[in-house]
């Protein structure tokens, strides 16, 4: 079990309730029922306050929770007729980004997204969701195809960042991300991007030039990881919690900055507690934004996306 510090008091209450329930069932004690009800109310209250007042570091831990729903979970739960499409046609198939055609409530979509692993072995294969250049090139290949056939794109973002490695540099990590940014801007089909967990810097925004950008309630989207930021600013990567305070990267922060369009609510306790419910919410949000965009022509969609990002930035003009 992977238990976060702030989950402990809640889990303690829950196990206490479980214990009392067992006793109540064997003994049939009416008084215990009252006690159980009281504890359940208490638990609910505690959960509500805990999850509405998480500090930036606690948010980070939830966003990185290893049981959060990933792209493949979305595909399995929310889509039909999925065909995974592999490879960048140049170097290899990067398992840290997946993509393919599918239907969501009957509507064809191209889904692309980062893919983390569930266990060590899986994570070795998925490289912890950190793509190489060929991953971005695969995603762009699929998105361009979608634009040709006027198939809308759903992009799911969840990565610690683009992989920092020798091969990645040799094969042009920078160029792959840059080209993805430029080319996504020109695609003549609706694009909806959703940050589902960690929106790690350039490796995240490379899939994020969309008409609508949404974030899960407990996800983060940052210019740099708090560890990286602490390393540079304090010369000490272990001071990540302080950096997390300064970087203001929670979904709530980004919404207040008008950098995203909507926050998708998660079940109480986080998406990992009830992943199916969380995925249903994600699907609802994606379809609702698609419905807003479906009437626009290709050039209108490109213009809409341009103006969206054109407005971003805060400065004084003297």
């Amino acid at each position: 079990m992977y238990i976060l510090e702030f989950e402990k008091p809640i889990l303690a209450l829950k196990s206490k309730i479980e214990e009392l329930r067992m006793q109540q069932q064997t003994r049939g004690d009416e008084k215990l029922l009252k006690e159980i009800n009281k504890l359940e109310r208490q638990t609910k209250e505690l959960e509500k306050t805990t999850y509405s007042t998480l500090n930036p570091w606690e948010k980070t831990l939830l966003a990185r929770h290893p049981k959060r729903p990933y792209t493949l979970d979305f595909i399995e739960h929310c889509t039909t007729e999925f065909t995974q499409l592999h490879g960048d046609r140049n170097f290899r198939d990067d398992p840290a980004i997946i993509g393919g055609l599918c239907r969501i409530d009957g509507q064809p979509f191209m889904v692309v997204g980062h893919q983390k692993g569930r266990n060590t072995q899986d994570n070795v294969k998925r490289n912890f969701g950190m793509p190489h250049p060929e991953g971005y090139r695969k995603a762009l290949r699929l998105m361009r195809m979608a634009s040709r056939f006027k198939v809308p794109i759903l992009s799911l973002i969840d990565t610690p960042g683009a992989y920092p490695g020798i091969g990645a540099e040799e094969r042009g990590q920078s160029e792959a991300i840059a080209v993805s940014l430029r080319e996504m801007a020109a695609l003549e089909t609706p694009i909806i991007a959703i940050v589902t967990g960690e929106g790690g810097s350039g490796g995240a925004i490379a899939l994020g030039v969309a008409n609508r950008v949404l974030m899960y309630e407990h996800s983060i989207y940052s210019v740099i990881s708090p560890e990286g930021c602490a390393g540079i600013l304090f010369g000490d990567g272990t001071r990540a919690q302080e950096a997390a305070q300064s970087l203001r990267y929670s979904a709530q922060d980004l919404l207040s900055f008008h950098l995203i369009d909507e926050i998708i609510p998660e079940p109480l306790g986080g998406a990992h507690v009830k992943p199916d419910e969380a995925l249903d919410q994600l699907k609802r949000a994606a379809l609702s934004h698609f419905n807003d965009l479906r009437g626009l022509t290709g050039p209108q969609l490109v213009e809409d996306r341009y103006q969206k990002f054109r407005k971003m930035g805060e400065f004084a003009e003297g």
Binding site: A185, R248, G313
Partner: protein, 282 residues
């Protein structure tokens, strides 16, 4: 030094230049260790006479070297950084900005405008590495986007000279979004057939290399420049092995197909004239 800004504030700039490389003194080349007379070094475009090491240039020096005399007109000088995150590390971002402005006499990490290279008008954005490591926040992103839009409107070629550690942490996600904003503007430029040459100088990394710097119709670099996505320290910590010799230097990138060419400083004006001349005949 020939921009209008020089005329406005000659004193500021001359003291600044002096602080950088005091006139009439000896400068040690960080590459070969040779001691160079600073006037000779200036005359040689700040390239080591012995080993060809390209010293980092300020934007003012670059403008002076690159453009016809008195031809560069700066734009958007009034764009100033603010502190949307109320960011604090060892000091407040607000104070950091004030101190940087006082120290460098610069408003931001980008100087943009239009100048002439052998009579041809060229739109340009040039990084000042001395200003917070040439980092890109909202102002840099906005200035670059505006100069791209200007190139588009006037149908003149564009050059961006990068020298930057990447996106500016202190402006958080606002900085990150500048990568998308500038790249989207370049998408329009490409569609309209306006040539863009990216010149990467030492260093060009992170969110700058992963957006407009790598998006030139022609990507060129000065010799020996550090160019890459991730910092060497981060890579080393991740892979736990030594990095190959010359890793992330211009020559390494060219060998791996990431650069069109490596160009010495003395050849820049001629080469830009040739290339722009073929891509966008006047």
């Amino acid at each position: 030094m020939t921009s209008w800004l020089t005329k406005l504030a000659p004193k500021l700039l001359s003291t600044d230049a002096k602080k950088n490389i005091p006139a009439g003194v000896w400068i040690k080349c960080p590459e070969c260790g040779e001691t160079l007379y600073s006037k000779d070094l200036d005359k040689n475009l700040k390239v080591c006479l012995l080993c060809n090491y390209h010293f980092r240039l300020t934007a003012e020096e670059r403008i002076e070297q690159l453009f016809d005399e008195n031809s560069f007109v700066e734009m958007d000088r009034g764009l100033l950084p603010i502190d949307p995150l109320k960011f604090v590390d060892s000091k407040k971002y607000k104070d950091r900005i004030k101190q940087t402005m006082a120290k460098t006499k610069l408003n931001e990490s980008i100087t943009s405008g239009v100048g002439k290279i052998k009579e041809r008008e060229v739109a340009a954005a040039i990084f000042n590495f001395r200003y917070m490591g040439g980092s890109m926040g909202s102002v840099a992103g906005e200035k670059i986007t505006r100069v791209i839009e200007l190139a588009l409107k006037r149908r003149i070629p564009l050059i961006i000279v990068s020298a930057s550690g990447g996106a500016r942490m202190q402006e958080g996600a606002f900085s990150l979004m500048q990568m998308a904003k500038t790249s989207a503007a370049l998408s329009r430029l490409a569609q309209e057939g306006i040539p863009y040459i990216s010149l990467m100088t030492d260093p060009t990394t992170g969110g700058v290399s992963a957006s407009f710097a790598m998006l030139g119709d022609i990507n060129m670099a000065e010799p020996g420049a550090l160019i890459g996505f991730a910092g060497a320290r981060v890579i080393q910590q991740t892979i736990k092995q030594n990095l190959p010799q010359g890793f992330q230097r211009s020559e390494f990138l060219k060998e791996h197909g990431q650069l069109d060419l490596i160009l010495e400083r003395k050849d820049l004006r001629d080469k830009l004239t040739e290339l722009f001349g073929m891509l966008l005949p006047t």
